[in-house]
Amino acid sequence: MSISAEDVQRIGELARLHLEDDELECLTSDLNAILRHVDSLQDLGSTKQPEDSSQIGSKLTPVSHEHVEGPDKLHEMPADFAPEWQEGFFIVPAPPGVYPSGDQ
């Protein structure tokens, strides 16, 4: 499979990555090179399915919930790392098409 510059543009939008024209060109060719490589996976065809092909990672049952009070709880701290903070809220530019009053 190969992808076009339009595809790359659309993916950029999905990922909220702005791409300049030269970046777009580079990325399109890079991605195609990688995808050519990745296409070899298709050669695998039907493999013998091992018994347990579910997620890797330890097979845990839900762990008993430890209510950790203490250093991890955030109380006054967001102001320390928030890029914009006013009156207890994180502030961002309004999303497009929003009404001036009331919640979404």
Partner: protein
């Protein structure tokens, strides 16, 4: 053809994947932690209480429980979604294939439940806090929700409203959610498509989002059904679209196409193992489920011979129904018990903003009070004020009655003197009574009550008045 998706906030004490308390209200951004605000390096950990509540929900609707269900990431960018993805369940939900029966506009109607799954809630985006910008409160982020999806079995806007009422009642009954509409505990999206009667194909469907009240759902659907009908009758085709309901303006507006075209890129959540539920767990939950509202209501009608209206009102909430049955259990006549729970107790609870579980007056106290009324120790109207005092101060009804001098006066001598006194001062009314206006008796009884400072037994007073009035 209408199908609905309902998001219900489960009443777990803690959030779905972290150890923050799931609370409503409170100062913004005070119930947050690295996990629910998506800080780098933080990881979700499942709160088992949520699985239990979700099971209660699914089993209340008769769903098939899947012993293994898988978490998935649903990706999109929005400021109230901290990680840029929501952890939900996609291909392998907790439960599928249930149903709900409700009293619809055409009688008993059944709706199939396609699936019930667990997911986390987003935070809140507010647009009226800061000029020309939006403010984010993440207290709600990470709270546990179940999503309930129905098949498109509903046919009218009114039915949808009735169905939602039944659903809400069931959720409260099994203790899965507080279903507090003001707090946004229940949110509804509806899919509707109108087609010509007899036409084989399925029309395109419109999705209506963002409705926070059942009446809003009904209004929005009525509007949309009318619009689709008009479109079809004009010979056009209904296009697929998503509409947002504006409760303020009571209108539907189209969502911008960019908002609409989401590619959620679902894939299994690598940070969590699948939810595993055992048959034992399912059996335990099933056995602990209370009798569901419809079943309880019919039982009340049958066993206690209650009127339809009374049975429905009593079974509105499990707490009221429990209270009523406890009263009956202490040998109070069901009709009397019903009257007291629906009347004075409910008025008291409304005034004190309490419910049948939290109101401090317990069935035993009301039973005692009713006993005192029946023995004539206190009048019914006085008893109602005793009820209020019981709520404020506690104690036993008989102590209160004695302490406040509310014991009905039944001494004939005393009563006779009050009656005589009233009659002598109200000769005009006496004449009117004798002239045929029997209704004026009520006024005269009131006057006797007034003279006696409320202590007179009104029934005896009435008897004495009638006796004296017919004597002369």
């Amino acid at each position: 053809m209408i199908g609905v998706e309902i998001h219900v906030r489960l009443k777990s004490e803690y959030k779905l994947f972290c150890s923050d308390r799931a609370v409503f209200g409170g100062e913004p951004n005070t119930h947050i932690c690295p996990v629910c605000i998506g800080l780098p390096g933080a990881l979700p950990v499942l709160n088992p209480e949520v699985v239990d509540l979700a099971l209660r929900t699914a089993l209340a609707f008769g769903c098939t429980i899947h012993f293994e269900s898988v978490w998935a990431r649903k990706s999109y960018f929005y400021p109230d979604l901290p990680k840029g993805y929501q952890i939900t369940q996609f291909e392998h939900p907790l439960a599928t294939k249930g149903s709900v029966t409700f009293s619809g506009s055409k009688g008993d109607t059944s709706v199939k439940i396609r699936r019930v799954h667990i997911e986390e809630d987003a935070g809140k985006l507010l647009h009226d806090r800061v000029p020309r910008a939006s403010a984010i409160d993440l207290n709600r982020a990470g709270t546990a929700l179940v999503e309930i999806v129905t098949d498109p079995d509903l046919r009218t806007a009114a039915d949808v409203r009735l169905f939602l009422g039944e659903l809400k009642q069931t959720l409260e009954y099994v203790g899965a959610s507080n279903c507090n509409m003001e707090e946004g505990d229940l949110r509804v999206d509806a899919n509707v498509s109108v087609r010509r009667f007899g036409s084989p194909g399925l029309g395109n469907k419109t999705e209506i989002k963002n409705v926070n009240s059942f009446s809003g759902v009904e209004r929005a659907l009525s509007l949309e059904i009318a619009r689709q009908t008009a479109t079809l009758e004009a010979g056009s085709v209904v296009g697929r679209q998503t509409l947002l309901w504006d409760d303020h303006r009571e209108e539907l507006r189209k969502m911008r196409s960019k908002e609409e075209s989401h590619d959620y890129r679902y894939f299994p959540e690598p940070d969590l193992s699948p939810v595993r539920v055992t048959q034992e767990q399912v059996t335990t939950v099933l056995e602990s489920l209370p009798e569901l509202p419809r079943v309880r209501c019919s039982r009340f009608k049958k066993v206690y011979e209650l009127k339809d209206y009374d049975a429905e009102v009593l079974t509105q909430s499990a707490a009221n129904a429990d209270y009523f049955e406890e009263l009956v259990g202490i040998h109070i006549d069901p009709q009397v018990a019903a009257k007291w729970v629906i009347g004075p107790l409910q008025a008291l609870m409304n005034q004190r903003r309490e419910n049948a579980q939290t109101v401090p007056v317990r069935p035993a106290q009301i039973a005692a009070l009713i006993g005192l009324i029946e023995r004539g120790v206190v009048s019914e109207s006085a008893a109602k004020s005793v009820l209020v005092i019981l709520a404020q101060e506690g104690g036993s009804p008989s102590d209160i009655i004695e302490a406040r001098g509310l014991i009905q006066e039944r001494d004939i001598g005393q009563l006779t003197s009050w009656v005589t006194g009233v009659l002598s001062k109200h000769s005009e009314e006496v004449a009117r009574y004798r002239g045929g206006e029997s209704k004026i008796l009520g006024y005269l009884i009131g006057q006797v009550m007034h003279s006696s400072g409320g202590a007179a037994d009104p029934r005896l007073a009435r008897d004495l008045l009638i006796e004296q009035l017919s004597n002369e």
